[in-house]
Amino acid sequence: MTRFTRARLVAVGSGALLFSSLLAGCGADAPATGAGAGTGTKVQGGTIIYGHEQEPPCLYGGWLQQAYIDRNILDSLVTEADDGSIKPWLATDWKVSDDGLTYTFTLKPGVKFTDGTALDAQAVADNFAYWEKGGNSTAQVSIDPYFASAKALDTTHLQVTLNKPYLPLLTMLTQGYFGIQSPTALKRSDKENCEQPIGSGAFKVKEWKHGQELILVKNPDYTSWPATAKHQGPAIVDEVDWKFLLDPVARYASLTTGESNVIYDVPTVNWKDAQAKFEVQQYITPGKPVSIYMNTIKGVFTDKLVRQAFAYGADRKSAVEAGFHGVIPYENNPSVSQSTPGYNPEVAKAYPYDTAKANQLLDQAGWTTRDSAGYRTKDGKQLEVRFAFPAGSVMTGEGSTVLQILQQQWKQVGFNVELIPETQAETFSGKYSSPDSYDAQPWYWTSPSAAILWIVWRPSTKDSPNYNNSSFYDNDELGTVIQQGNSAATTEEANKFYGQAQQIIQDNAAAVGLYTQTSSIAVAKNLHDVWLEKSQGEPVFSDAYFTK
């Protein structure tokens, strides 16, 4: 899942470990065989009842919850295979100039959007222009400031020009935010585009019953499946009823009672049960894990020693294991999660639980006295941390338990951590987004590339403030190193710079690691080939089929 950002809701997702061994499929007309494939008779048609979690305000946008939906109704230029390589989708081929500044895509001919508009090079160029001007906030920050222009050379050839080399471009384009929409449809009102985006995908929107469900119906004329598809042709099922079941108990119960065929985000308390009864897939999302931003420009965390003491002062690993019942991995690297290409494992070794070290750092920082409640004080001021967290969206009940455990451990070294659960309305309104409103705040931001470092940590300037940096941590050296990674000639070279950037962030304790953003699905045993795509774990239903 992606994060919300400040005043706007921004999201970035990315690819990660796809448990493909569970998902090997078969052709549309082939007998059902192979791991994850059905053993009964394959059925054409049917309706998949999918119990999802959160409902977005619009069906298209920059939040991961929107990308999940868009993956099923929009096609993209390219897609990512399990091994991280880029594979054809709407673009059957592409060439990159030697200087890395020009990408020329060859498009599959004859593709049409579901409104009849031709999906040609001009349509894709129009979509690039749409993203660049903010039509999708995550798409915009994912190519900014590298993108210069896109133009159609003819109906099937598109040229994308960059201001400077940007090695992760193709990887970033695999996210659902870069789904291509009909330029004819984009000329409609915002409300219409919000309610019913028009693409060329395997499904199209039939009806959105707000607060209840989204009904997707098969696009019978589908011709543009990606190279990673598990079958060739239109979707096998007729319909997907995408139900919004926020309550985890109700969601899991819907699967166990047969009211749904597949659910998203299996509650960790039910994980073992789900493993026994259903086909389960867990996806550790790349990008920024759930880590704690610390306000470096106001309050107690302006002092690096205090930030480091905060990192040492709690047994985060044990807290994560307890809160998530051992299902979700601990992640001590605050800037890039373990499933991200370019992850620096050395960074994850910093700040082990060490109360002696935490106490020594706080003493060194001048927080030497304690009040009657046991909290440290300095010049009569208590070592207080206002810890705001988006309850129910970024932080589930399980995450809240983790925070409560940490709160008690931080108390032992003298921090008075006040947990402030944000309602969704408060999160959307940006109540806790200014430097005056909090000292610490956990967030994640999924991305298939370590280029997420640039989105989150690029230095803020007057002309181009970076609202995504919730630590308000400005470091020119960090910005330079990340840019060197983005513009590197090879992946190895890029990863070297990305690794350095992760080290700088960790050394300065600009954030504290917590756990990986992890999503999961559980699928009924008579439903097969539902899979999570690589870039950010978007559920794919176009290959799914029932057996009887």
Partner: protein
Amino acid sequence: MSAASVSPAATRARLAAIRVQLRPATAASLLVVAFLAVAVIAPSVLTSGSPTTIDLQHTLLSPSFSHVFGTDDAGRDLYTRAVYGARESLGIGLGATGLAMAIAILLGFAAGLARGIVDAVLTRILEVAFAFPVLLLALLLIAIRGPSVATEIVAVGIGSAPGYARMVRGQVLHVRQAGYIESAVALGHGRWVVIRQHLFPNAIRPLVAVMTLGVGQSIVWASGLAFLGLGVAPPSPEWGALLDAGRDSITTSPWLEIMPGLVIVLVALAVTSLGRTLQHRLEGAAR
């Protein structure tokens, strides 16, 4: 007064009152309320633990002799948390009911005394407000102000005030017709003296019992809000928050829901039972 001067009717009323006092349900309710009072005033008398102490070696233990309510997913003793949660839960219940009564008395007396256009306007307003469920109003307020103890008190208080206000207005209209009010006016007492010394106490008396009933109801509403994640901030052991925290584990660790749920039901029943008893006694006294 001699025994011979006591009328048979008065004797029957007193005996009835004694029988009411001795009812097992009343005795049990008093016991629960006494336990609750100790939990509010001196929780350390009832448990030696701390409601926030975590123990990651003993998480999600089912009820046993060492943990009579079991432990939660942070290893916290649930009985200790329930005991310490009494202060906040009861505080919300009393605060919300007190606020509701204050609003109700203000509006009810204004409508009942002024009558005419003022009465008509206030009554219509109350009827409109009455049409909104308490939880809906509470959700609106929490969405605006954010969740906290104060917001819960205000939200539940305002939400339940219209019902009480209608009762107060009815009582005022009833009492102002009484003979002793007419006598007081005939004796030349001033308007405010009549209201303060005769109307107010007699109109309010029946509401004391209703208020007691309201405390239990407010606790349940506040718990409902907390259960929806709109209550007090963690790690508060407020009872509704305990319910909310245990919700995800209802199928695997049901005691996390059952125990705080039982506490809420028990306290609400006890307070309601006492309220009924009080109501009966006051009605008896009035007769």
